[in-house]
């Protein structure tokens, strides 16, 4: 049997692929990479592009990644794929957007957390839930 290496392609939202491969090709940041079994340990960032997994029968599977990380150990290759398009300025814009939304929503509100009020109201809500629970038990018995 040809030499193979275990390949896992996972993203934060779920596993994408797992299996054995004779060769893995990935778009590394510093250039296209071809990883054969027993490759020396390597970590690199990936560019958006095509990750190809070649199995020992010569079949090829393609996976699109919009970036991520590639980790190589002699017997395991792991692709930590991004599912969202990432770039410094896009992330920045998202952060600003999240900030702006919070500011809009809380315009004119005090930045001081009102412990006493919060605690009193939550205690009341919890008491209500308990009362309902009790009522149910009474009725059931």
């Amino acid at each position: 049997m040809a030499m193979t290496v275990h390949v896992d392609i996972v993203s934060a939202e779920g596993a994408i692929h797992s299996g054995l491969a004779a060769m893995v090709y990935a778009p590394g940041e510093m250039g296209e990479l071809g990883i054969a079994p027993r490759h020396t340990p390597l970590i690199t960032r990936l560019k958006p592009g095509d990750v190809r997994v070649e199995d020992d029968k010569g079949g090829m599977e393609h996976f699109y990644v919009s970036g991520g990380m590639l980790e190589v150990q002699p017997d395991v290759v792991t692709v930590l794929a991004d599912t969202a398009i990432r770039a410094q300025n896009i992330d920045e814009a998202k952060a600003l957007e999240a900030k702006r939304r919070a500011e809009d929503a809380l315009a004119g509100k005090t930045a001081e957390f009102e412990y006493a009020k919060a605690q009193a109201e939550l205690a009341e809500a919890i008491a209500q839930l308990r009362a309902i629970e009790k009522l149910r038990k009474m009725r059931a018995s």
Binding site: I43, D91, K94, A95, E97, R101, A105, K109, T110, L129
Partner: protein, 288 residues
């Protein structure tokens, strides 16, 4: 036959409410199953990432990232609060907020300042009501939250951590124990808590880094925190559906009980009316 019509209308209105709660229960049950599957699906990514990070820590590259263990004096704590977007899920959010308030109170007694980032409309509403320094928010993530939706808010918190505005970041969310139990949980995100697993012995080897260790580690740690928050969001989603399913089930049961009671009252009223009518006829006939 006084009141019979009112009782009948009431019964039919409760019946339609029961239909709605019954439908919501079933919808929540199927959504819960999917949310649980999603919860399982997020695990491999974080595990893989942790493996790599652990290895990096062991191989001890010359670079120490600010997210990793460090002894910075803690003055201000950031909380990422994950809640549901919608109500009708029992005490899910209330329990979480109560735990949070207790925690906040304790922190205030220790003289610590706080800042927040909310995920979900209920958490935002909570801070809108009671005040608090909310740095960022994300809401309406839907049943299938996407990692893209939480990149922004998480980045705000991590940036604040890096430029010293806050000295630690925690996440508060509901942990899915089982369908009946959801546990409000508080977890530290940064600085990353070193796990007490003994580092595996053996020859220490290092990776080849492309382009260089610092950049790779930066990327990796940011993604790792994001994936932890994403896991929290997905898990909280499963909790929301489970809590809603239970709440709707008890609502349907209650409606059933109410209908039974009303039916009894209705039957009694009907019986009384008939009896009265007969006695009127009989006494009328006797008078002739």
């Amino acid at each position: 036959m006084a009141g019979a019509k009112e009782i009948r209308t009431k019964i039919s209105s409760i019946k339609s409410t029961q239909k709605i709660t019954g439908a919501m229960e079933m919808v929540a049950a199927s959504k819960m199953r999917k949310a649980q599957e999603r919860m399982q699906a997020t695990r491999p990514y974080a595990e893989k990432m942790l493996q790599v990070i652990r290895h990096l820590a062991k191989a001890s590259p010359e670079y120490r990232h600010s997210f990793m263990a460090q002894e910075r004096e803690i003055k201000r704590i950031g909380y990422i609060v994950v809640s549901s977007d919608r109500g009708l899920c029992g005490g899910l959010n209330t329990n979480l907020f109560r735990m949070l308030v207790q925690e906040l109170k304790q922190k205030r007694n220790d003289g610590l300042d706080t800042a927040f980032c909310t995920i979900g409309s209920k958490a935002l509403g909570f801070f809108k009501r009671f005040g608090g320094d909310v740095k960022a928010e994300a809401a309406q993530l839907g049943d299938k939250p996407r990692i893209a939706d939480i990149i922004g808010p998480v980045k705000v918190m991590l940036d604040a951590f890096e430029n010293g505005e806050i000295d630690a970041v925690y996440i508060a969310y509901n942990e899915f124990v089982n369908t009946m139990t959801q546990k409000p949980t508080l977890r530290q995100l940064v600085p990353i808590v070193p796990d007490d697993k003994p580092a595996a012995s053996g020859p220490v080897w290092d990776y080849i880094y492309e382009p260089e260790a610092r950049l790779v580690l930066d990327n990796l740690l940011g993604r790792y925190i994001e994936s932890l928050v994403y896991q929290g969001v997905v898990e909280n989603g499963a909790c929301e559906q489970a809590a809603r399913m239970v709440a709707m089930k008890s609502a349907s049961d209650n409606a059933g009980g109410l209908i039974d009671e009303l039916q009894l009252v209705y039957n009694k009223a009907r019986q009384a009316a008939i009896t009265q009518e007969i006695s009127e006829i009989v006494s009328g006939a006797a008078a002739v």
